[in-house]
C-alpha cells in the first residue's frame, strides 16, 4: 500500500511494533482461512482465543486486562484486522467499542469486574442491540421497552442486524424505560435468559465471515443492576457508535491496502496488447493515481482525528467525516480494483471482491453514508435535515 506522505514517520516505536505484530498475525492466521469462511458463510471461531491473546479486544481501554493502546495504536490494529476481512474487524469493533467501551465508561464497578476481564480474554462475547427491523437510521424511534417490575426490568422487543448475536453470552440491549416515550437506557442481558432468542440471518452476500442475527426478547426479566447506571438517553448508544466509527474509519484503510496491493501486483503482471502489462496503459495508471490519492487522504484524516481524540478535542462530527469519507473511498477503491483484475476479480482467489462485498455493509452500518452527510450538513448550516 502506498504511504505516499510517509505518515508512518508520525508513529511511535510502539505503534510501529503493534502494526507489525497485528500484520504478521493477520498474514499467518486470518488471511489463509478467511476466504473459505466467507464462502461458507461462517465465522472463524478458532480465531477468537488467538485474537484475545494478542490483546486486540478492547485494546484502547485501560485496566481490566486491556492493552491500553494509544488511539493511533488502536486504529492501526483495526486497520490490520480489516486488511484481513471486515467481518473479523467487525467482531473486534463490536466486542471492544460497542460492548466493552460502554461497560468501561458507564458501567458499575460490579459490571466492570464481572464482564471486562473475561471479555478481554474472549471468554465472554458481547453484542450490541440498537437497530430494530423498523428503526435503523432513526434508532431513537425504537420500540423495545423495559418495564419496571419490583426489583427487575422486563424487556420486550426485537433487534435486527446484530453482529455477534448468536455468538454472544451478553447482549447490550437499548430499550425505553416504562413505555414508547420513555428514556433510552442500556441493559446487559445474558443471552441464556428466559425469553431471549437469537436467530441467525442467512442469505447475506456481504460480511459473510461474520455472525449477524435477529434478537427477539419476549418479556425477558433482568435484575435492576443489569442497567448501565452511568448514561441516560440516546447519548449512550451514540457515544459507543462514535468509538466504533472511529475504528471503522481506520479499519477500512486496511481493506484499501489489501485491494490496492492485489490490483497493483496484478496490473504489473497481466499482459494485454502489444506485450505490455496493463499497468503500462494510461487508463489503468489514472486509476492508480486516483486510488493513491484517496488512500493518502484517508490516512491523513484518520491520523488527524486520532490526534484530536488524544487531545480530548474530538467531536462526533469529526468521526462522521472520516467514517463517511474513508468508507466511500474504500468502496470505490475495491470496485476499481475488482475492475482491474478483470474476470479473475470476481473470484475468491483474490481478496478484492470479498472486500468489495463487505464494504457494502460498512457503508451502511454505524450510520449510513447519507446519515453522515446529514450530520455534516447540519454542522455546516446549523439546520437539521433528518426529518
Amino acid at each position: 500500500m502506498p504511504d505516499f506522505f510517509d505518515v508512518s514517520r508520525h508513529l511511535s516505536p510502539e505503534e510501529r511494533a503493534i502494526q507489525k505484530e497485528v500484520r504478521a498475525f493477520v498474514d499467518a492466521r486470518v488471511i489463509p482461512v478467511v476466504g473459505e469462511h466467507f464462502e461458507k458463510g461462517t465465522f472463524p471461531l478458532e480465531l477468537i482465543p488467538q485474537i484475545a491473546q494478542l490483546g486486540l479486544l478492547g485494546c484502547n481501554l485501560h485496566g481490566y486486562g486491556c492493552a491500553g493502546l494509544s488511539e493511533v495504536g488502536y486504529g492501526l490494529a483495526m486497520q490490520e484486522l480489516e486488511r484481513g476481512d471486515s467481518g473479523i474487524r467487525s467482531f473486534a469493533s463490536v466486542q471492544g467499542s460497542l460492548v466493552m467501551y460502554p461497560i468501561h465508561a458507564f458501567g458499575s464497578d460490579a459490571q466492570k469486574e464481572r464482564y471486562l476481564p473475561k471479555m478481554a480474554k474472549g471468554e465472554i462475547i458481547g453484542c450490541f442491540g440498537l437497530t430494530e427491523p423498523d428503526h435503523g437510521s432513526n434508532p431513537s424511534g425504537m420500540r423495545t421497552v423495559a418495564i419496571e417490575d419490583g426489583d427487575s426490568y422486563v424487556i420486550t422487543g426485537t433487534k435486527r442486524w446484530i453482529t455477534n448475536g448468536n455468538l454472544a453470552q451478553v447482549a447490550l440491549v437499548w430499550a425505553k424505560v416504562g413505555g414508547p416515550n420513555g428514556e433510552v437506557r442500556g441493559f446487559l442481558v445474558p443471552t441464556d435468559a428466559k425469553g431471549f432468542e437469537a436467530r441467525l440471518i442467512h442469505k447475506k452476500v456481504s460480511l459473510r465471515a461474520s455472525v449477524t442475527s435477529e434478537l427477539i426478547l419476549e418479556e425477558v426479566r433482568v435484575p435492576k443492576d443489569a442497567v448501565l447506571p452511568g448514561v441516560r438517553g440516546m447519548k449512550g448508544p451514540l457515544s459507543c457508535l462514535t468509538q466504533a466509527r472511529y475504528g471503522i474509519a481506520w479499519g477500512v484503510i486496511g481493506a484499501m491496502h489489501a485491494c490496492y496491493d492485489s490490483a497493483l501486483d496484478y496490473a504489473k503482471n497481466r499482459v494485454q496488447f502489444a506485450g505490455k502489462p496493463i499497468a503500462a496503459h494510461q487508463l489503468v495508471q489514472a486509476k492508480f493515481a486516483e486510488m493513491m490519492t484517496q488512500i493518502t487522504s484517508a490516512q491523513l484524516m484518520a491520523l488527524e482525528v486520532a490526534r484530536l481524540k488524544n487531545e480530548g478535542k474530538l467531536r462526533p462530527q469529526h468521526v462522521s467525516m472520516i467514517k463517511r469519507n474513508n468508507v466511500r473511498a474504500a468502496l470505490e477503491i475495491a470496485r476499481t480494483c475488482r475492475d482491474i483484475l478483470g474476470g479473475n476479480g470476481i473470484t475468491l482467489e483474490y481478496p478484492v471482491m470479498r472486500h468489495m462485498c463487505n464494504l457494502e455493509t460498512v457503508y451502511t452500518y454505524e450510520g449510513t453514508h447519507d446519515i453522515h452527510t446529514l450530520i455534516l450538513g447540519q454542522d455546516a448550516t446549523g439546520i437539521a435535515a433528518f426529518e
Binding site: 516505536p13 510502539e14 510501529r16 497485528v22 499467518a28 492493552a67 495504536g73
Partner: protein
C-alpha cells in the same frame, strides 16, 4: 537456566526488489528491517526452555538478548523483549564495522561477563548467509557446540540432547552445559523443545509466538543496556572485506513455442536436458 541469544536485524527479504547497489556498495537507506528469522527461532527456543509451557508466566531462568548495531537496532531488541525476553544489550557499532569474527570475539567477552549456561543463536543470518558466528564463538570459548538444532531436550538443565538434521535422518548429540547451540527452522515445531519444566504432553503453537499488544507496550520499560564495542573487543579490525556487490541479472522474458516438436528440439539442442 540463563540463556544469551544474539540477534541480528536483516533487510526484509520481502523487499528484495528495493535493494540497490551503488558503486559496488550496498545501499541500506530506505530498506525495511526485520529480525533474522533464525534468530527469532532462537528467542522462541530460549523462551520455551525457560518456561513451563502450560503457564507461560511462570518463567524459570533468564533470557538475555544482544544485538550489534546503531541505535535503531533497538527496535529488534524491543520486539524480542515484547515476546518475553527479560533484558537486552545493544553493542554499539556501525553496520559496516562488523564481521562474523569480530562479533564472535565480542560475544566471547560478553559471555565471560554475563556467564550464561547456554548461548542460543540462529544457524545463519539470511543476509550474508555466512553461518560462522556460533562455531567461532564456541571455539573461542572452548565450549561444546551443536549446530543446526532441529530439536532440543534439556536434561535437568545440566546437559542438552540436540537433534541435528543430517542427510537421511537425525543425528542426536549430547552437549554438557555451558554450550553454544545454533538452531534451524524445525526447532519451532510444536514438540521440538522440551525444557526442564515443560510437561510431557504440552504442544506449542507452530512457529514463533506473537507478542501481545500489552507486552509490546510493557517492553519499553524492560532493561536495555548499551555497551561499547571497544569495551568487548580490543582489536576491531575486520577480517572479512566485501569487495563488491552485484544484483542478480534480471530474468529474461520467456518464449512461446509453436509446436511440441519445437519444444522437444529446444529441450534437446538448446537446454540440453533431454
Amino acid at each position: 537456566m540463563k540463556i544469551l541469544v544474539p540477534l541480528k536485524r536483516v533487510a526484509d527479504p520481502d523487499n528484495a526488489n528495493k535493494v540497490k547497489v551503488n558503486g559496488g556498495k550496498l545501499e541500506t537507506t530506505g530498506l525495511e528491517w526485520k529480525p533474522n528469522p533464525f534468530d527469532e527461532y532462537a528467542v522462541e527456543t530460549a523462551l520455551r526452555l525457560t518456561e513451563n509451557g502450560t503457564n507461560p508466566k511462570a518463567r524459570q531462568g533468564e533470557v538475555v538478548v544482544v544485538t550489534f548495531g546503531p541505535k535503531d537496532t533497538e527496535t529488534t531488541l524491543r520486539a524480542a523483549l515484547a515476546t518475553g525476553a527479560d533484558r537486552a544489550i545493544r553493542v554499539d557499532a556501525a553496520d559496516d564495522a562488523l564481521d562474523g569474527d569480530l562479533v564472535a570475539r565480542a560475544l566471547k567477552a560478553l559471555v565471560e561477563k554475563e556467564k550464561p549456561d547456554l548461548v542460543l543463536l540462529g544457524k545463519q543470518a539470511v543476509d550474508g548467509d555466512s553461518n560462522q558466528v556460533g562455531q567461532l564463538l564456541a571455539e573461542y570459548l572452548g565450549w561444546p557446540q551443536a549446530t543446526f538444532a532441529g530439536s532440543i531436550q534439556s536434561e535437568d538443565d545440566k546437559s542438552l540432547v540436540v537433534g541435528r538434521e543430517v542427510d537421511g535422518g537425525t543425528l542426536k548429540v549430547r552437549v554438557t552445559l555451558p554450550a553454544v547451540v545454533s538452531v534451524d527452522l524445525r526447532i519451532v515445531a510444536p514438540n521440538s523443545v522440551r525444557g526442564k519444566h515443560t510437561p510431557p504432553t504440552h504442544a506449542y503453537a507452530d512457529g514463533v509466538r506473537f507478542a501481545a499488544l500489552m507486552a509490546i507496550m510493557a517492553a519499553k520499560k524492560k532493561p536495555l543496556a548499551e555497551v561499547k564495542l571497544a569495551d568487548l573487543a580490543s582489536d576491531t579490525a575486520l577480517k572479512i572485506k566485501y569487495t563488491g556487490f552485484e544484483l542478480p541479472p534480471a530474468r529474461k522474458a520467456g518464449i512461446k513455442v509453436k509446436a511440441v516438436s519445437e519444444l522437444v528440439d529446444k529441450l534437446k539442442n538448446e537446454a540440453k536436458v533431454v
